[in-house]
Symmetry: C2
Subunit: 478 residues, 2 copies
Amino acid sequence: MASLKELRNQIFIGTFIHSKKLDELEYLHDTAICVDKTGKIIAIEPQCDQKKAEMSLYPTLGWSAADVAVTIAKDGQFFFPGFIDTHVHAPQYPNVGVFGKSTLLDWLNTYTFPMEASLSDLSKARKVYTRCIRRTLAHGTTTAAYYATIHVPATNLLADLCLSMGQRAFVGRVCMDRMGPDYYLDETADEALAASRASIEHIRGIDPGFALVSPILTPRFAPACSEGALAGLGRLQRETGLPVQTHISENRSEVGLVRELFPRSRHYAAVYDEHGLLGPRTILAHAVHLGDDEADLIAARGAKVAHCPCSNSALTSGEARVRWLLDKGIAVGLGTDMSGGYSPSVLEAARLATLVSNHLAMGGERRGGEDASAPGEGERAKLSFEEVLYLATRGGAEVVGLQDRIGGFRVGMEWDAQLVSLGALGDDVAEDDMQDYGNMDVFGWENWDERVAKWVYTGDDRNTTMVWVRGRLVHERK
Amino acid sequence: MASLKELRNQIFIGTFIHSKKLDELEYLHDTAICVDKTGKIIAIEPQCDQKKAEMSLYPTLGWSAADVAVTIAKDGQFFFPGFIDTHVHAPQYPNVGVFGKSTLLDWLNTYTFPMEASLSDLSKARKVYTRCIRRTLAHGTTTAAYYATIHVPATNLLADLCLSMGQRAFVGRVCMDRMGPDYYLDETADEALAASRASIEHIRGIDPGFALVSPILTPRFAPACSEGALAGLGRLQRETGLPVQTHISENRSEVGLVRELFPRSRHYAAVYDEHGLLGPRTILAHAVHLGDDEADLIAARGAKVAHCPCSNSALTSGEARVRWLLDKGIAVGLGTDMSGGYSPSVLEAARLATLVSNHLAMGGERRGGEDASAPGEGERAKLSFEEVLYLATRGGAEVVGLQDRIGGFRVGMEWDAQLVSLGALGDDVAEDDMQDYGNMDVFGWENWDERVAKWVYTGDDRNTTMVWVRGRLVHERK
């Protein structure tokens, strides 16, 4: 099934930028990175150009120049780690931008369930999933944690397409045996579990080591799962060690619904915990309205959070307190959450993460103290562009449990990367430049920090020129 | 100076969409609009194609087919009124995206004043202004209310460039005789007024009737103007009848500063009112932290508001209560406010206007009652995509005083319009389509409302294929 071509040894030369820590980017100029045929970074050499690499680097690696594919970042270009989308619903892709004034629960019934149900049609699923993967790759998303639908064949198709198109992915068959409409529901907890197992076995068949595509256990969210389904998925997690993804505390009405449905649980996080679904491999999307105790439990279990600022703003869900989560030691990544979120771009999610953090800071002064579950945070709440780029790469890698393999440039990690091109202006402001590099205008007097800030605030997929996953070129902008 | 070529009679055929009222778009399908050589709409004919126009419409207009330039919107394309950017600082364009975690007052000193001061260099000014105009035209901005700098020659150059590049514009020499740094300040109130007069006379010289480019009186904001300067500008307004643009109540520290500097005025709006600067031709940018009395005074005077959601979010200024302003009968348009705002796009401002209104709605429940100047607004605060498109066109036209000439399609109005192309997908999802039409994927099952919603949330300048001002083609996407 996998159509990966045999890779050559590769060298990448130029400027590399990645997160050193939460609030600090590292700039590696005039550097060379060598990637072997398995897509692994095997050397990082400062002060190195092609000539020097051939003379002194290749011999130490046992490479001969003829066998090496060379990619050089030109002036105004840099290599950056691929983005990690820690929360995205592939079947909702056609609804992107369409949500009206709805909030979570009516949005599900009006827009989402009908669209997801329609993907039982495999030809429609192929069209939607192909476009979703192409689009997200074009935005530099090298890893995505996908929700599929309840359908096993369409879920398997999504996994097949990720593998053949070369996107690293976690693909989850959605488990929901209540709350959905009659036409879109697992009939019983047992059938739900059997279907999830079937999809896991399919993925094991196409990518035995889960090197690129992995299954992920996906209870839609607590209100859509019976106790039996949750408990069964908890057992399946213990049995398989697979990751888990679900939603938590996105919207106040949803939190109220969970309180009604699970009256014995002390809060939303406890529901997952009591069913064996809150552990170090669990990705919790949203986490907007958590209480202190709840966040402490999440931290204690080592579960992670997918922050989805576009979606939370669009569906009027709330403002997740990212600084507060990070302060508690919880790993946080970014999610586009299409189609609650209106954009396929993790860069847009990063941009919105700064803006939402600003709204949180603005609200702080008014909010302070009056609501114990949402104390004011003031200026500290604000996330910088450096911090949101961390969340988009290293933070995301931690959320999906791949922090040793992706999210930065280090020997031993894999080459999941994008080549970013800035729209450098010469004195000639030709119309053509403008179209090639989107909205970024670099006038020439900006320092590197300012260039990266411009990318975060004005960049788009036009600045993502090439994208690689495990060393394989998976997107190139013509 | 004006390089307008002689226009031909023109006919535009296809789907036209514009705002009928605040919350309602009108869809005119299979329609023809005739525009005469002066750029004026002289006929709107429903159920009309090219053949029918030639047979039955041209004769009534005295047109012969050979003299008419024809533009037909294809399937997946529609004509939309040009956007009106009611608040934008052209000299700050190179700083777009660069603001760090600053808020208004430190942002001015760190980023803004040094950049503006540097535009005394006319070759730099030419480069920056040319790029700014090209970029905003490419995003469908047919009218812009520009702040220039304190320099007369550079301000005049901006007006020259708007005229030659064909963008409708209000161009204001910035008046500031205090608070700025030594290196960037009008030396006295008298010198400030003389400089503003000089720029007005220049514009009168290049566009005597202000048909395309008009001067606009531009006290930077109250803290940067002495009482003498404000009073002098007030007199100049009475003398000339020219429009006025300034800032109001963007940031809490700024409001405090105004209270200190103008202790006898009862609030910020009163400062402008007392100096004869609050009238029906006044554009007030931001209006975030207004009190009730203040808004009532603004409404009574007929002054207008430029809402700048990107800037207010980026600089942590606050959330302007647009619904509340509209309820008071105040006209509201949108401003990109570059470079407080990070985007040249009014479409982005429209998108953010919906999101900021959602944040206002979210905050409402927490905020209610505790702060008299910012009562909770709840769900009513939320702006729909139809409403923000109204603000971007008809609302903006009212703000700049051109509601009878631009902002919609009506006989007697001028042809300021854009041709929008949706990225319609056939069954073939070719990579090329993706690049041509940006991020918009129309799968084919969307109704027109959903298509327009997708444009608002996922569109960008790649969807703006052609742009006209007063009938003249001023941008075409290759």
